[in-house]
């Protein structure tokens, strides 16, 4: 039965992809371009060569983690859009931890600094969860506001109290040091953060679908009254799901530090958190589905560059493509359970 559901999702998503390509083809044809050439470029740019694949996977890596920031709380019925802020906070704390542990053995220090980043992100979103449970503050608005606050704090710190004045390129924080960088997956030029992203999604899926906690969260997400009647610990569930989601985004921030930049700067806040919301909704809040969806969205980002360079399409064309894809996939969700081929046969 599970296979049937997955097959249906795959077919519907494929259908949505075809519709998207058709609409996007019309869009570029209006500009005088050959749609087939554009499709070819989309494919080449995203999956066509080994380099493209590496590019796609590199773009997908942070999205897997920030998507969890929305997906995990969503299972409990919460709409959290604070991935951007949690990522930034996670990155900052990772730097602080890295500086505090300077000189320690990397094998010990790296997991610790990443954990610190994750904890910080988790705490950030858990605070919003607490505000929701204890004060009734809507988590959507509180996490949105916290995003702005986090980015402002980050900018303030990297421009002043945490600034590395030797760095003249841009306001940047103290570096964590070369010893604490985690480098690429051997044999590729994709950083190890990708592995962390996949692992986090898998772990989240196990938690959601294979534990009693996860089951309880599903009940809460479906019907809060029922959950209350059954006596589920609502407060604990709200706090834990928010914490876990925030920890995933915080880990994304840690990855940006130890796998990409080596320091914190305004380049932490480039929209990974917001893109993660998109991925979570496309994946229908299923942590395992987040992996292929993140790769798809990463592929669009990666091939967007080729579209710009080959056809002179502006960067905005990639946004349009993403928007059309998103709408098409969402419309296809309406067809779930309606297609005869996938209906469960009566016993």
């Amino acid at each position: 039965m599970l296979a049937r559901a997955w097959a249906e999702t795959a077919v519907l998503t494929a259908g949505a992809l075809l519709v998207t390509l058709a609409l996007f083809g019309a869009f570029v044809a209006a500009r005088g371009l050959d749609p087939l050439a554009v499709y070819a470029a989309l494919y080449v740019g995203a999956f066509g060569t080994w380099f493209s694949l590496e590019d796609t996977l590199t773009q997908a890596a942070p999205l897997m983690l920030t998507a969890l920031c929305t997906a995990i709380p969503a299972r409990a019925g919460l709409l959290v859009i604070g991935g951007e802020g949690a990522l930034v906070v996670g990155g900052l704390v990772t730097v602080l931890a890295g500086v505090a542990l300077a000189g320690a053995a990397p094998a010990l220090a790296i997991p610790l600094v990443c954990a610190a980043g994750a904890l910080a992100g988790g705490g950030w979103i858990a605070a919003a969860g607490a505000l929701r449970h204890f004060r009734g503050v809507n988590e959507t608005i509180s996490t949105l506001l916290l995003n702005y606050v986090a980015i402002a704090i980050m900018n303030h710190l990297v421009t002043g109290p945490m600034r590395d004045f030797e760095q003249v390129l841009k306001p940047a924080s103290w570096p964590v040091g070369e010893a604490f960088m985690i480098g690429d997956i051997p044999g590729t030029s994709i950083h190890r953060g990708l592995a962390l992203g996949v692992a986090a999604c898998a772990a989240a899926w196990v938690l959601a679908r294979r534990t009693t906690f996860g089951f309880g969260v599903d009940v809460l997400g479906g019907n809060e009254r029922a959950a209350r009647l059954v006596g589920l610990p609502i407060g604990a569930m709200v706090l834990v799901t928010c914490f876990l989601g925030g920890a995933a985004a915080g880990l994304a921030g840690a990855v940006e530090i130890v796998a990409v930049h080596g320091f914190a700067s305004a380049s932490l806040a480039v929209g990974y958190g917001y893109a993660g919301i998109l991925v979570a909704f496309l994946a229908r809040q299923n942590p395992l589905a987040v992996i292929p969806v993140a790769i798809l969205v990463g592929g669009i980002s990666a091939s967007g560059g080729l579209l710009q360079r080959r056809f002179g399409l502006p960067d905005a064309a990639t946004l349009v493509l993403q928007g059309i894809l998103f709408v098409a996939v969402l419309a296809s969700h309406a067809l779930h359970g309606r297609l005869r081929a996938f209906r469960a046969r009566p016993a």
Partner: protein
């Protein structure tokens, strides 16, 4: 050119008042539009994209036609169109309106940037303003009290919308759809149609709000024009407890708080500018926490709204 009167610290409250009026207008329009939409039971997070699309189309049309008001109209129509798409897709079963909103946010922003490329350089004609400060000898006060026509329109619209929602039959239908869809259906109204119409009108207002950004203040079109203002305005709706007149006060508060940082910088408080920049958001969060309670979690929230369940 009249020489400016030496202001010193008085510049700060004058700037805050001026900023409250200047900066609040797009927030006001978007939040009024979203209030209407959410009262009918639907969330439209796509208003950020609508705002940007409105700004771009207003600027382009105003530049091409020479008439800023035509630009405002077209901006509203563009917003209405995006609202129509939102309403239509959300009318399909089992479609999550939050997700559709995000999709249209991307689509609207992408289309606006794409179509708006040729209009970044030119200068479009501006919307007119009313000078309420003509009595003052101080040019600064006069500048602060230059009220834009759209702000006046919004300030009138807010109580009007509140009255319409409370006291007219049409308002009742909208509220019924938002509070209890089954009851509304039983009364013979098409829930989908009412919600779509509310979304279309909401989109129109958001588009008009966007036109303010490009045709008055800051008065330009470029891709960095809105940094989440539409999204923030939607958050303000929750803060305003879905009450249109509260939207007016909340927008003014937010606009004033936004002007505080730059005003302080100009009197010599030049450090910590990022923290002052966070002031509007931190203030809103603090007030939200203070004014909320777990019992009446979201008083005034339409029960059918997906984010308030």
């Amino acid at each position: 050119m009249t020489p400016a009167v030496e202001l010193g610290w008085w510049g700060v409250p004058i700037a805050v008042v001026g900023g409250a009026i200047r900066v609040s207008t797009p927030y006001l329009f978007v939040s009024l539009g979203e209030t209407l939409t959410e009262k009918s039971g639907r969330v439209n997070l796509g208003l950020e994209g609508t705002l940007v699309m409105g700004a771009m189309s207003a600027y382009a049309v105003a530049y091409l036609s020479g008439s800023p008001w035509l630009g405002v109209l077209v901006a509203g129509l563009a917003g209405a169109l995006l609202g129509l798409v939102h309403g239509a897709v959300c009318s399909l079963p089992r479609v999550n309106d939050v997700a559709v909103g995000i999709a249209l946010f991307l689509l609207g922003t992408g289309l606006a940037f794409y179509l708006g490329k040729p209009y970044i350089e030119p200068s479009a004609p501006r919307l007119p303003h009313v000078s309420l400060g003509a009595w003052s000898a101080s040019p600064q006060v006069r500048a602060a009290l230059e009220i834009n026509a759209l702000f006046v329109a919004g300030a009138v619209l807010a109580p009007l919308l509140r009255w319409a929602l409370r006291s007219t039959r049409w308002g009742l239908v909208v509220r019924a759809t938002g509070d209890n869809a089954d009851a509304a259906r039983a009364l013979g109204h098409s829930v989908a149609a009412v919600r779509t119409l509310a979304t279309v009108l909401g989109g129109f207002l958001a588009g008009v709000g966007g036109s303010f950004l490009s045709l008055y203040y800051p008065g330009t079109w470029n891709e960095g024009l809105s940094s989440g203002q539409g999204l923030m305005a939607i958050a303000l709706v929750i803060f305003a407890r879905w009450n249109p007149t509260h939207c007016l006060w909340v927008s003014l508060l937010f606009g004033g708080a936004t002007a505080l940082g730059p005003a302080l910088q100009s009197v010599g408080i030049t450090s910590n500018y990022y923290l002052y920049g966070a002031a509007p958001y931190a203030l809103t969060l603090a007030l939200l926490v203070w004014s909320s309670s777990p019992k009446q979690a979201l008083a005034g929230a339409p029960s059918e709204l997906s984010i308030s369940r």
